[in-house]
Amino acid sequence: MMKMRTVEITVGAFMIAGIASLLMLALQVSGLNNFFREEPGYKVKAEFANIGSLKVKAKVSLGGVAVGRVVQIALEPQTFNAEVWMSIDPKRVENLPIDTRASILTAGLLGDNYISLTPGFSETEFLKEGDVIPMGSTDSAVILEQLISKFLAGQASSNKNP
C-alpha cells in the first residue's frame, strides 16, 4: 500500500513539473503576458506605394519605441496601393496627431522592415480607430536593389557623356 502511495505522489509531482514548465515557457520564453497586454489597440490604416518585405506582426515604432504591430496587409484593388493595418497600443501612445507620417524602414543593413511613425503637428485632431494615413504622408520602403541599379545606370550614362 505504501508503494502505491509513493508512486502516486511521484506521478503527481511529475505532472506538476510538466504544468510548471508549460507556465514558464508561456510566460518567460514566449512572453505571453505581453500578448494579453497588446490585444486592445486601435487600428489605423496606412497606404504605401511599395512595402518592400514588410510582414504581418512587424514592429510599429515611434522614436525607436515599439508602440504597436502590423496586423494585416492587403492590396487596394482600384489604385494598386498596399494597405497596411496596424494596431497601436493606446497605453503606449494615445493621441497621435492626424497628420502623422508613416515610413517603412529597415532595421540595420540586413534586418526586418518595420514602420516608423513621425508625429505631425495637429493639436486638435487625433488618429482613432479606422483612420487612414494617406499616400501623401507615407514613405515607401527603400529597395536596396533598385538603389543599386539606379546608381549603376547613372554611372554608365555619366561614363558615356563626360
Binding site: 508512486v7 511529475f14 514558464m24 514566449s30
Partner: protein, 262 residues
C-alpha cells in the same frame, strides 16, 4: 523468369507490410475502444505513468541540461563574430521549442521507455502470461496495452515541456552567467521571437504525435514478437529503430506543415 520472381517478391513484401499495418491498427483499436473501467484503469495508468514517465525524467533532464549548454556555447561562438550575441536567447529558444525539445525528447523516450515497454510485453508473451490472462477471461489487449499506451501519450508532451524548460535554463547558465550576454537582452529577444501559438503549441502537438507513434510501435512490436529470447531482443531493437526513423521522418512533415510556408 527472374523478372517475375522479383515482382513476386515485391508483391509479397507489400502484402506483408499492409497486413502488419492493418494488424497494428486493429490491435490499437481493440485495446482502446470499449467501455472504460475508470477506477482500476486509472490505478493502472498511474502505475504506468510512473514507469514510463517519472523514470525517464533523469535522462531527459540531464540531456536537456547539456544540450542547452552546448547550444549556448556554440551559438555564442558563432553569433559573437557578427556582433549579434544578444540574439542568443532567440536562437536557443526557437531551436529548442520548435525542433530539439520534441525530437530529442522523443528519441530519448523511445530508447528509454519504448524499448522497456516492448521488452516487458514480449516477455509476457513468451512466458505465456498473455495467454493465461485470456484463459481467465481477461482481455490482455485492454489490460496490458491500453494503460501503457495512454501513459506514453500523456508523459511524452510533459517530458518535452520539461526538456525545453531545463534546456533554456542550461543555455541561460552558459550564455548569461558564464559568457556574459546581457540577461535582459537574452529574455527580451527570446520573448519577441517566440510566439505561444505558433511555436510552443505546435511543439506540444509534435510531441503528442511522437508519443502516440512511439507507444504504438512499442506495444505492437511487443505483441507481435516471436516468443523466444532472440525474438524479444529483435523486437526491442526494432522498436528503437522504427520509432527513431518514424520520429525523424514525421518531424520533417510536421515542420513543413507548421513552419514551412510563411
Amino acid at each position: 523468369m527472374l523478372l517475375v520472381r522479383r515482382v513476386h517478391a515485391l508483391g509479397r513484401v507489400g502484402v506483408l507490410f499492409l497486413g502488419d499495418m492493418g494488424k497494428a491498427v486493429l490491435c490499437l483499436c481493440h485495446a482502446l475502444i470499449g467501455k472504460p473501467d475508470w477506477i482500476n484503469g486509472f490505478k493502472r495508468l498511474v502505475n504506468q505513468l510512473y514507469f514510463v514517465g517519472v523514470l525517464s525524467l533523469v535522462i531527459i533532464v540531464l540531456s536537456a541540461l547539456f544540450i542547452g549548454m552546448v547550444l549556448g556555447l556554440q551559438g555564442y561562438t558563432i553569433l559573437v563574430k557578427f556582433g549579434a550575441e544578444h540574439a542568443l536567447g532567440q536562437l536557443i529558444a526557437l531551436s529548442l521549442v520548435r525542433e530539439l525539445g520534441p525530437v530529442v525528447g522523443a528519441l530519448l523516450f523511445a530508447g528509454r521507455a519504448g524499448s522497456a515497454v516492448t521488452a516487458e510485453i514480449a516477455l509476457m508473451k513468451s512466458t505465456e502470461q498473455l495467454s493465461a490472462m485470456e484463459m481467465m477471461g481477461i482481455d490482455p489487449l485492454r489490460r496490458v496495452i491500453a494503460p501503457r499506451f495512454w501513459a506514453g501519450q500523456i508523459s511524452m508532451p510533459v517530458l518535452a515541456l520539461i526538456f525545453n524548460c531545463v534546456a533554456v535554463m542550461g543555455g541561460y547558465i552558459v550564455g548569461v552567467d558564464w559568457l556574459g550576454v546581457d540577461s535582459g537582452a537574452f529574455w527580451a529577444n527570446m520573448q519577441s521571437a517566440v510566439d505561444f501559438q505558433d511555436d510552443i503549441v505546435n511543439g506540444i502537438i509534435k510531441s503528442v504525435v511522437f508519443g502516440t507513434v512511439i507507444m504504438w510501435i512499442a506495444v505492437f512490436q511487443g505483441i507481435e514478437c516471436v516468443p523466444t529470447s532472440e525474438g524479444i531482443g529483435r523486437a526491442t531493437t526494432r522498436t528503437v529503430v522504427y520509432s527513431s526513423l518514424a520520429i525523424l521522418g514525421l518531424d520533417f512533415f510536421l515542420t513543413a506543415v507548421m513552419f514551412g510556408v510563411t
